[in-house]
């Protein structure tokens, strides 16, 4: 069974929580005790229906204020796939949460209200999905029941969005007319919309092909941990543990080690005493190499004819998370794959308006939830690829050295 991770975005009003509640309920992931609790709360709050949105309420502060303050992860499975939903709130700290949810997502699910069409927020969410290289995007036109299940409304919204999305880097775009409240086109075809002959939402999530989304071409193995047991049985064992970040590694492959530039061959690939004949992303394995060369955490194992760029100058689109604005000239701790160093912000080229894609080149700083393009100088060489090509070797986080907070996330542009 394959796993699919998707991020949902939307505000309280467009029915996102109801949609997720519906997916969980219709795929039988909601248990009786959870449903009882929701039915009880619905009655207490005076709803005349079971408010499925309550299923996804989390913390006390959220229930009290009727808002969602953080990314919540939810799980469901059907016989064909396991799903992880990163459920991101639409309003408070929207960019920060959406970026976090999208960073690991295969697919972004964006909701619009059929009565209002594509609004600023839907555009913002699709821009973020595109910047984070989420390959598949589903636009659910929700509340079709409130527009009499009218095909024209759906067609107009779809056209409108398709035109806008042309500017974005999204390879696969799907439109589905739904009513989360009534369950239309969620897990079964709606009798109310006979004109719609596309897949239901669940069918689409179950059958979408994601096998080609991972980079299986550029072999990348950031060394995470060196295993040297020095026990009687494994006296001379020396293995390089890590998670494959790209391509395929096989025993016998010739590999290049960065930063030393030395080459050797893979003697074996171990996974808990089992020798495996191929390692692909995102497997966590241990490589044994034929020659005894000095390799430590933060080094990169790749192929001699296909190496990432070794550089101390990085250009990136970054998203800023902190209340203290980004400082040009500021120094931050940087974590890229398994390597930590320090980074100096040399330049901020522009701040990008995620609603309009327009660039503000006069902005001297980035505030919380802003995105912009920066140039960094790093104290040690990093082994990088362009983010669009590899989400693992193309991403980094920035950490404030004083507070230790994670203050920014970067996607490398100019590798």
């Amino acid at each position: 069974m394959e796993m699919l991770r998707f991020a949902t975005a939307g505000s309280v009003d467009d029915g996102k929580s109801t949609l997720i509640g519906r997916l969980l309920l219709d795929s039988k992931q909601i248990f009786e005790d959870q449903l009882e609790s929701v039915e009880r709360t619905s009655r207490e709050k005076g709803f005349d229906y079971t408010n499925l949105a309550l299923l996804t309420d989390g913390l006390r502060a959220e229930r009290e204020q009727g808002i969602t303050i953080d990314v919540a992860y939810r799980y469901f499975a059907t016989p064909s796939r396991k799903f992880i939903i990163a459920d991101t709130p639409g309003h408070v700290q929207y960019t920060r949460n959406m970026v976090t949810g999208a960073s690991t997502a295969d697919l972004a699910l964006i909701l619009v209200d059929a009565r209002h069409g594509v609004v600023e927020q839907s555009r913002r969410h699709s821009v973020i999905a595109s910047l984070l290289s989420v390959r598949h995007l589903v636009l659910c036109v929700n509340k079709m029941d409130l527009v009499d299940y009218d095909q024209l409304v759906f067609d107009r919204i779809s056209e409108d969005f398709r035109e806008w999305a042309g500017k974005l880097d999204i390879t696969d775009l799907t439109f589905i007319p739904v009513s989360a409240l009534h369950g239309d086109n969620i897990t079964s075809h709606s009798p109310n919309m006979p004109w719609y002959d596309g897949p239901t939402l669940l069918h689409h999530l179950e059958h979408l092909y994601i096998g080609s989304d991972r980079n299986l071409i550029d072999s990348r193995f950031p060394v995470q941990y060196v295993i040297r047991p020095m026990s009687d049985k494994f006296h001379d064992y020396r293995g390089y543990a890590g998670q494959v970040a790209g391509g395929t590694f096989r025993p016998g492959d010739e590999v290049l080690v960065l930063p030393s530039g030395l080459t050797t061959t893979i003697e074996g690939i171990d996974l808990y005493g089992e020798s495996i004949d191929a390692a692909i992303p995102p497997m966590s394995v241990t490589l044994r190499l034929a020659d005894n060369i000095d390799i430590s955490r933060g080094d990169m194992i790749c192929r001699p004819n296909n190496a990432p760029e070794t550089t101390q100058e990085v250009d990136a689109m970054i998203c800023w998370f902190s209340e203290r604005p980004l400082q040009v000239g500021g120094k931050y701790a940087i974590k890229h794959t398994t390597k930590s160093a320090r980074a100096l912000v040399r330049d901020l080229h522009y701040r990008m308006d995620v609603n309009t894609l327009s660039r503000d080149e006069t902005s001297g700083t980035l505030a919380m939830n802003d995105m912009g393009r920066v140039s960094l100088r790093v104290t040690a060489p990093l082994f990088v690829d362009e983010y669009r090509r590899n989400r693992t070797t193309g991403s980094f986080i920035l950490i404030d050295e004083g507070t230790n907070e994670t203050v920014g996330a970067g996607m490398i542009i100019d590798a």
């Binding site: 913390l59 096998g211 941990y225 398994t338």
Partner: protein, 302 residues
Amino acid sequence: MTDTTISHLDALEAESIHIMREVAAEFERPVLLFSGGKDSALMLKLAEKAFWPGRLPFPLMHVDTGHNFDEVLEFRDSRAAELGVPLVIASVQKSIDEGRVHEETGPKASRNRLQSVTLLDAITEHGFDAVFGGGRRDEDKARAKERVFSFRDDFGQWDPKNQRPELWNLYNARIRKGEQIRVFPISNWTEMDVWQYIERENIELPSIYFAHKRQVFRRDGMLLALTRHVSLLPGEELEETTVRFRTVGDATLTGAVESTAATAEAIIVEVAASRITERGATRGDDKFNEAAMEDRKKEGYF
């Protein structure tokens, strides 16, 4: 495994192993909480895999309420001995004896809430800076929002409104002295995933997870086992029935479910058909109010 995709269990395993290796590489004194329960048995297996053929680069710790099932304690000790890993036992009884906490009284008294103090004391005493826990996000509303690397201040408190953003597989391990990170490598596993993996990997578990005959009685809608830690209240009656445990916490609070599932395979079938959550069915500690877990986490609980 086909050429380009890996199964959900392999993907979850890979993610958990990656997290464990990050912790071993970036912290001075990590420790793995090991109660002998199924989630911690899974954690131990993943840790073995992460560092094979080396030994675990961290000790194990159990916060012992003194109200545990004997079968689980035996299992805990034998697994630790088998792996040759040091096991730290932090005792709630000792915290009570030393006057660090006051025991609740009455027939339904529980030591559950006292655990946080014992845990935090042990973390301070041993200087642990990262503590692995087997919490899963599908267990509870508060857990659903918690990070894999969950920052705790020098009081061990979780601040849900002020969590560090967590992107890709990049974890921020930076802390000041006295602060700690609670690490949840199996955040993304569900109860079903855990059982499927236990079956696939043939992971050994305490016997009480599998169907067996036992003396039980009904209290607050749960089936409690008669142990030396629990006594009957007026009106409660013992019955012998075939049960298993879905979770194995404090014996005073952990309910059994009627079941004839004697193997991991049979349990998977039951889990698939079950209509009640794991904690809802069997954990008195989470029933006290809607926000029980959230409150306990803010006090330093896992």
